[in-house]
Symmetry: C2
């Protein structure tokens, strides 16, 4: 039955995505994926040929998820800078709240295999030539706009990267972290404005 086939294939992909993002490539065993998916180990190779091919598939999806979120925002010339920032922050905090393991996984695996990232994100010059970058340059021509994007991403993404540290230190718990992120959704645009206009 064709539906059953999609079912198991999706089950394997979901299990693989969960474990790969949580543990990384090397620490994830094919038997763990099979168990998590509730399927026989052989089916993994039957459907995806090898652990590596399955990983590359998941990896590609995660890369597109992580970087694709904001592409429509940063490229849309009809949005002014202020609105772009608001949407950028909102999209990231929303997506990462649902997928807290996404950033550390993506950053890790890009470092391990930068080529795969370049192949996956066909147009890698999108960022520098984007409407967002031009608007930043116009606003403050004296500062390299890369600083701006590092600040914007840093303030949005870093909290999720460092969440385990703040949790372990008992600085936040699951609920207060969520509340903090809600606050940041409104605060980061204000801070970014202050940064761009500073000095």
């Amino acid at each position: 039955m064709t539906e059953n086939k999609l079912d198991t294939e999706e089950k394997i992909k979901a299990a693989a995505a969960k474990l790969f993002t949580q543990r990384g490539y090397a620490a994830t065993k094919t038997r763990d994926i099979a168990e998590e998916a509730g399927i026989n180990l052989s089916l993994l190779n039957y459907y995806f040929r090898s652990k590596e091919k399955l990983f590359n598939l998941i990896m590609g999806e995660k890369i597109r998820q992580f970087f694709g979120i904001v592409v429509p925002v940063i490229t849309d010339a009809s949005l002014d800078l202020e609105l772009k920032i608001e949407l950028f922050v909102e999209k990231y905090i929303e997506t990462l709240t649902q997928n807290p393991d996404l950033p550390i996984f993506v950053l890790n695996e890009i470092r391990n295999d930068p080529k795969h990232f370049v192949e996956e994100i066909g147009a890698n010059k999108i960022l520098m030539s984007s409407s967002l970058m031009n608007q930043i340059r116009a606003k403050n021509p004296e500062v390299n706009p890369v600083h701006f994007i590092m600040n914007l991403m840093g303030m949005s993404v870093f909290p999720f990267l460092s969440k385990p540290v703040f949790m372990a230190s008992q600085v936040v718990d699951e609920n207060s972290f969520r509340a903090l992120m809600e606050e940041r959704r409104k605060l980061i645009p204000i801070w970014m404005k202050a940064i761009v206009e500073s000095k």
Copy 2:
């Protein structure tokens, strides 16, 4: 000879530190460490009992390195807020320029084993009760000071976490990245001031 003993022990530790921080625990093989150190495989177990014990040793050192840098700064009540920020940024950018793999390794492994982190950093309440936090609270009582520390760390550390992305995207190369970080050393304190005083 006792000097030779220290020599090989240090060689193994250096090799282990390099490979563990670059690849993580699971992807690092004991045989790779031995080869990198230029020693026989058996010596690893002879000196450190097991891969896991060796890893915990390295891990502890890296955690202390990553978090220890700024403890003297954030706890010293004789430094005013502005100077604290300057020193904080300077220390981090300096240390991470020398050890670019440090943050992603530390954040990764803390997520994998938060308990080890808590045991390693005995006093985990240092941050919240630090002189730095009190100075922030005094300056802007309306905003949770955790936001402030996330911004400060995010702006300082995130560039190193995302460096492989910007390199692969050809947004920066090794030299321009270094130059950017030099700029940030001066800019982040200015931006942080703008943030704290915003609204």
